[in-house]
């Protein structure tokens, strides 16, 4: 027997939405930490360091997140490493966002004019002082709009985790659909829920873009 799509289903979906948010946050926080390290290493003058980073980024960006998830979830157990679906999805999304955030932030660092780096060097600042006091404050301005924009991509890509069994809003949606057989209503509600997460980020991104293009300071 099918039940009709009702308020209870929305509540169940909201329960799934929590995992969507959790997965998004994990991807952004840990992907951000690794991405930041990648960005710093990416601007290194030591050739093999920046080349290694470039290769890593190319590999990750050149394969679908879903496949990375499969490799970790189905592939690692064959090597004797058991990973849960949430862990596998988390790792794959962290790899994904680290590669993209690393690229965005490296480009932002590099778009701070070379003369600013030299100016800081000539004042005898240390590496950390140069980065923290001179380069990063200028790079953050450049990086904010694309970073917030990319967070939207992270949120949407978490839906792939449902394929390997993470109980996120998409996964719950499939179950609701199976129970109600009202795919149009069900998936429309899910789309609205994703929209509610992503739209504020998009607005924020555009606002930053405008704020920073008006004043350079």
């Amino acid at each position: 027997m099918f039940t009709n799509f009702a308020l209870i289903h929305v509540q169940v979906l909201l329960g799934g939405l929590i995992w969507t948010v959790v997965l998004s946050l994990i991807s952004f926080v840990f992907g951000g930490l690794i991405g930041f390290a990648l960005a710093l290493a990416g601007v290194s003058k030591v050739r093999w360091v920046s080349r290694t980073i470039a290769t890593y980024v190319a590999l990750i960006q050149g394969s679908p997140v879903l496949i990375i998830m499969f490799v970790i979830y189905f592939g690692l157990p064959i090597l004797g490493v058991e990973v849960g679906s949430l862990t596998a999805a988390g790792i794959a999304l962290v790899l994904f966002s680290s590669a993209y955030l690393g690229t965005i932030w490296r480009a932002s660092l590099q778009s701070v004019p070379k003369t600013q780096w030299e100016g800081a060097d000539c004042l005898a600042l240390t590496y950390a002082q140069r980065m923290g006091l001179v380069i990063l404050p200028q790079a953050i301005r450049i990086a904010t709009p694309p970073t917030v924009g990319f967070m939207v991509q992270i949120v949407k890509n978490t839906s792939l985790a449902s394929v390997i069994g993470v109980v996120d809003v998409t996964y719950v949606g499939k179950q609701v659909n199976a129970a109600t057989f009202q795919p149009f209503t069900t998936y429309l509600v899910i789309a609205v829920l994703y929209f509610c997460l992503c739209y504020p980020l998009s607005v924020l991104s555009r606002r930053f873009e405008r704020a920073y293009s008006v004043s350079h300071r």
């Binding site: 003369t115 600013q116 030299e118 100016g119 800081a120 060097d121 000539c122 004042l123 005898a124 600042l125 240390t126 002082q129 006091l133 001179v134 404050p137 200028q138 301005r141 350079h216 300071r217």
Partner: protein, 242 residues
């Protein structure tokens, strides 16, 4: 007299392009040495080597007793002794004039905030811009920005100042105010190494002039050098500027 900066047979190449082909000269304490020459003669590159913004391939430069090709060189100590002012000012746009000037004294020399501000005011007075201490660089004219950049270098109390075509980005009206600041510094006994295209200025301020041509020191002498060139290259160069 002792040499503050001593170039000794300095060679430098960018790939296959030989930019410096064995240049030697000295800047004595309290002396103003002006480097002149065509674009591409290697004069700016030579200047940048002093602060080790470029790495030399042969010979050596001794700056305040430090060999810049010494693998154990304390680069930050070298850069505290050397002040450099660039063509493009290189002020930090996100910081006020005061923050630009006090950044290095506070973080590198660990001077406390009040002292740093007092010193900032003092160097700003030297360049005639006390009232701009709270302004941001973008609120200043090019000439004012360049004077702040000079003040920022002075705040580190350098033993030698390098000026790399500091008026090239300025229109003639603003050039004068920057050159005046540099002349005041020269009169105050600052050791300076200058690269400039302003021939009249070079003649006024220089204790010695070095004319570079094709990566070599072509002619060297007192400020009267420009009035009495010995080589056809310098004669042509001076002629084209008058």
């Amino acid at each position: 007299m002792s040499a503050i900066v001593k170039f000794d047979d300095v060679h430098l190449s960018f790939g296959a392009l030989k930019v410096l082909k064995g240049i030697s000269f000295e800047v004595q304490k309290g002396e103003v040495l002006v480097l002149i020459g065509r674009s591409g003669s290697g004069k700016s590159t030579a200047l940048r080597c002093v602060d080790r913004l470029e790495r030399i391939n042969g010979g050596d430069i001794v700056v305040c007793g430090r060999s810049i090709s010494d693998p154990k060189l304390d680069l930050r100590a070298l850069r505290q002794d050397v002040g450099i002012v660039f063509q493009s000012y290189n002020l930090f746009p996100h910081l006020t004039v005061e923050q630009n000037i006090t950044l290095a004294p506070r973080w590198v020399k660990k001077v406390d905030r009040a002292t740093a501000r007092a010193e900032a005011l003092q160097v700003l007075r030297q360049v005639g811009l006390e009232e701009k201490i709270d302004a941001y660089p973008e609120q200043l004219s090019g000439g004012q920005q360049q004077r702040v950049a000079i003040a920022r270098s002075l705040a580190m109390k350098p033993k030698v100042m390098l000026f790399d075509e500091v008026t090239s980005a300025l229109d003639p009206e603003l050039t004068g105010e920057v050159l005046k600041v540099i002349e005041d510094l020269a009169r105050g006994g600052m050791t300076m190494l200058l690269v400039t295209h302003e021939m009249a200025f070079a003649q006024r301020i220089a204790d010695r002039i070095v004319f570079m041509h094709q990566g070599r020191v072509w002619e060297e002498g007192p400020r009267t050098l420009l009035a009495d060139p010995q080589t056809p290259e310098l004669r042509t160069f001076v002629g084209s500027r008058h």
